[in-house]
């Protein structure tokens, strides 16, 4: 097979001129955006929406940390504080982190990476964005009306009977957003099965696609359960029938089972895409195929499958049967192994690589360090005897921020930087990129490491006020959050600024072999002029990858 690059594309790669008609310039009306069925435009719609919610969630986080600067509830009264951390949790989880990578980077890249014109169901893709927006509107309505104070876990019977927040509106919001996640997952599964270009076999797919495949399985099979659970909760609150009400024989712990049946798989929904991104980052900037590609690919699937068997580890102290706890404990420790496999393979990929420290790569390093800490602290929680002391303390808070922020958010930022030139055709400022990556890393550790100590000392979570002797560590944490906040704010500024700069990125600024780098930046609406025929392995930097990646000197001299 000869190279699939057209003359024009090769020209585009070396000349800074972007092609005239791309997906961004193909229609400028509002309707051309709001009614688009182009996966790339929908990705941009998602990108904008989730960024907004990330800011809102971040502002709530800032409020939390400000309040916790002093041991007393002086800035916020407890009623407000409860609403603030609930809003923070719900917005960050349902409106930001779950759609973060899949709905933006995944949406944008999966069809391109497998050589398709679009996702299998473009209209359902658009529907998914609208569902997201409708769900978010419900949540925002609840927020405006005074918020919810149940915590993001909505535990019964507090949520069903005792809370006087807007539980129904929020519950319905999360219910609807759930369907947006289901439709995204469905689309990905079908697309990955049926839309691969000729020659693109399963084991030629980038690991990013594998990770999304595993994520989609969990979205498909897990999310409906949270939907029905929230529906039952809403109905219960509305009609006071008592299915979770112990007064008439209902069982509040059933709610926890149903909730975590989804929400544990959801935490993997919240990290697998990040792992997919990190595979791409590590490979790209050490210019090597991922070590043990097949193992990394299957470890995603293993996490998806075993991930459904461990939910009870959130309920060790809940009054669940002790035998059930032990079964869940064992399975939880087993599901940690595939994550270990990934970490080790990434490390091994670096061996004898040709490593450059671009901004995205800094995020990848950050991910490995932070996710390691987050994941390893998961082991403490998985050991039933240890979790009794740690459950519902700041140790948990630190654990999940390390995996969610240190894992997924960092990976998301890394991925956003890697594919920003592809999505927008513009290059951001490498200088500011590096600065902000460092700030995030330092700020993050300063914020959340002290929380491990706080947790072991016994500071319970969801506390508006805490004992005086714990103030020093809390001040560290709040100080760190300031640095972290600045670190997170910077990309918003310099990435936006890059849109108005003249620094065109070219089709392939980093000389990478993936299919997405073989089309212009920004890509045309149809992605490929001609359906590509794939003859090379994933991450093939070698001579026969069909792409004339000349060594860099040629371009820089």
């Amino acid at each position: 097979m000869e190279s699939i690059l057209t003359e024009a594309q090769i020209a585009a790669q070396s000349s800074p001129e972007a092609p005239k008609l791309n997906y961004l310039t193909n229609g400028h009306s509002v309707a051309s955006w709001l009614l688009t069925r182009d996966h790339k435009r929908i990705a941009i719609l998602y990108l904008i929406s989730i960024s907004v919610f990330f800011m809102v969630g971040g502002l709530f986080a800032a409020t939390i940390r400000l309040e916790l600067l002093t041991p007393h509830s002086d800035l916020l009264d407890p009623a407000t504080y409860n609403r603030v951390f609930t809003a923070h949790g719900i917005i960050m989880v349902f409106l930001f982190l779950i759609p973060s990578i899949p709905a933006t980077l995944g949406n944008f890249l999966i069809p391109i990476m497998i050589g398709a014109k679009d996702l299998a169901f473009p209209r359902i893709n658009l529907l998914s964005w609208y569902l997201y927006i409708i769900g978010a509107a419900f949540a925002l309505y609840a927020l405006m009306q005074g918020g919810v104070d149940t915590g993001w876990t909505f535990y019964a019977p507090y949520s069903t009977t005792f809370s006087n927040g807007y539980v129904i509106a929020t519950g319905l919001g999360a219910f609807i957003v759930g369907f947006s996640s289901i439709t995204t997952g469905l689309n990905f599964i079908v697309t990955i099965h049926t839309m691969r270009a000729p020659g693109m076999t399963w084991f030629k797919m980038p690991l990013f696609v594998w990770a999304h495949y595993a994520t989609s399985i969990m979205m498909m099979l897990g999310t409906p359960v949270i939907a029905i659970t929230l529906l039952l909760m809403v109905l219960e609150r509305f009609a006071h029938i008592g299915i979770f009400d112990p007064a008439i024989g209902g069982d509040p712990i059933l709610f926890q089972h149903l909730f975590w049946f989804y929400s544990h798989p959801a935490v993997y929904i919240m990290v697998l895409p990040g792992m997919g991104v990190v595979s791409e980052l590590i490979s790209s900037f050490s210019r090597k195929r991922i070590f043990g590609y097949v193992f990394v690919a299957f470890s995603s699937i293993a996490i998806a499958v075993i991930g459904f068997l461990v939910w009870g580890h959130h309920m060790f102290v809940s009054g669940q049967s002790v035998y059930a706890s032990l079964v869940f404990s064992l399975l939880t420790l087993i599901v940690a192994v595939p994550s270990a496999v990934k970490i080790f393979n990434w490390t091994a990929t670096l061996y004898k690589g040709s490593i450059s420290y671009e901004t995205p790569m800094l995020y990848a390093f950050g991910f490995i360090g932070l996710f390691l800490i987050g994941g390893l602290t998961g082991l403490y929680l998985a050991a039933a005897g240890m979790d009794i002391h740690l459950s519902d303390t700041y140790f948990i808070v630190a654990h999940f921020h390390y995996v969610m922020v240190g894992g997924q958010v960092i990976a998301y930022l890394g991925g956003l930087h890697l594919w920003w030139p592809k999505m927008t055709g513009k290059m951001y400022s490498e200088f500011w990129g590096k600065i902000s990556a460092m700030l995030v890393f330092i700020g993050f550790n300063l914020t959340f490491f002290p929380q491990f100590l706080l947790g072991y000392l016994g500071m319970p979570r969801r506390y508006a006020a805490y004992p005086e002797e714990l103030q020093v560590l809390n001040i560290f944490s709040s100080a760190g959050a300031t640095i972290l906040g600045i670190g997170m704010l910077l990309p918003v500024i310099y990435l936006t600024a890059s849109l108005f700069s003249k620094r065109n990125a070219g089709a392939n600024p980093w000389f990478l072999p993936g299919l997405e780098w073989r089309i212009p930046s920004p890509p045309p609406t149809e992605n490929f002029e001609k359906t590509p025929v794939v003859t090379w392995e994933a991450y093939d930097f070698g001579k026969d990858n069909g792409l004339e990646i000349k060594e860099a000197e040629d371009f820089f001299s």
């Binding site: 169901f121 079908v190 029905i228 029938i241 008439i248």
Partner: protein, 312 residues
Amino acid sequence: MSAKVEAHGAEHHYHPPGLQHQFDDMAQQKDSTSIGMWAFLAQEIMFFGGVFTAYLVYRAKFPMAFAAGSNHLDVVLGALNTVVLIVSSLTMALTVYFAQKNNRNMQVIFIILTMILGSTFLVVKYFEYKEKWQDGLVPVAGWNHKVSPEEMTAEEHAAPAAGAHKLNAESAAYEASEEFRTKARRGEFRWADSSLARQAEHGHEGKGFLTADEKSGYFTNGELDPQKFESKVRIFFWIYFVMTGLHALHMIIGLGIMAWLLWRAWLGSFSIDYYAPVEISGLYWHFVDIVWIFLFPLLYLLGRHFLAGHGG
């Protein structure tokens, strides 16, 4: 490879009707839609699965209360509906058959038959719900038919409040009120047929078969407590309404899909080359049928034998 069809080239290639731009050919499109539908059904299974889990948990805890609740349902109507749905599944399957045979008229006829059967199901369901409403079996306070004084029998007038109570009773004032008296007997939450619990207490040859939860869940100081028993029956009805309600909702959506399908079939859109919409609508319809195949025994039948074995 070279035989690939270019959907959106500069010149016009062969573009079969119904082929969407993102697909290369009809085979790919058909594959995608059917995998998509199956994935969607997997999602539906888990969605219903949540309520089935709740059913499982509570039925394992309170089998007698569930039996008592089940005995309040109209098993004849339930069986009728089962038959109606099975026939509709057959007509749906035949619709697909005739689409494959390019027979427009038969397609239209069978879609209409399917819709008629689907509507029959819903009408029957409506009457069942109405009956529950009249009998005070809706588990939500205040959502039942209020028995007016005129409707009451002499007996009911005579002993309005004896042993009467309301769940979550707020006060005696309420119990003494007019509203309460009008609900007595046939009013809300009067469904305790606690004889089943009594029977289970003594069981076969003196071997009681109450579960541990039932022992604490129905009895107060060793006395069968109708109020506590009723609250468990109420859980049964709650699950009954959620399950059948969600199922009915799916039927209604199914009818909407059928209407659209009828329109397309009328226009003669489907043939052996392109009948994926018929096929996947059929999948959906059969799925809804399957849910009912389980709901029928779980809700209507389990527990009937308690009546049979012990003469009621």
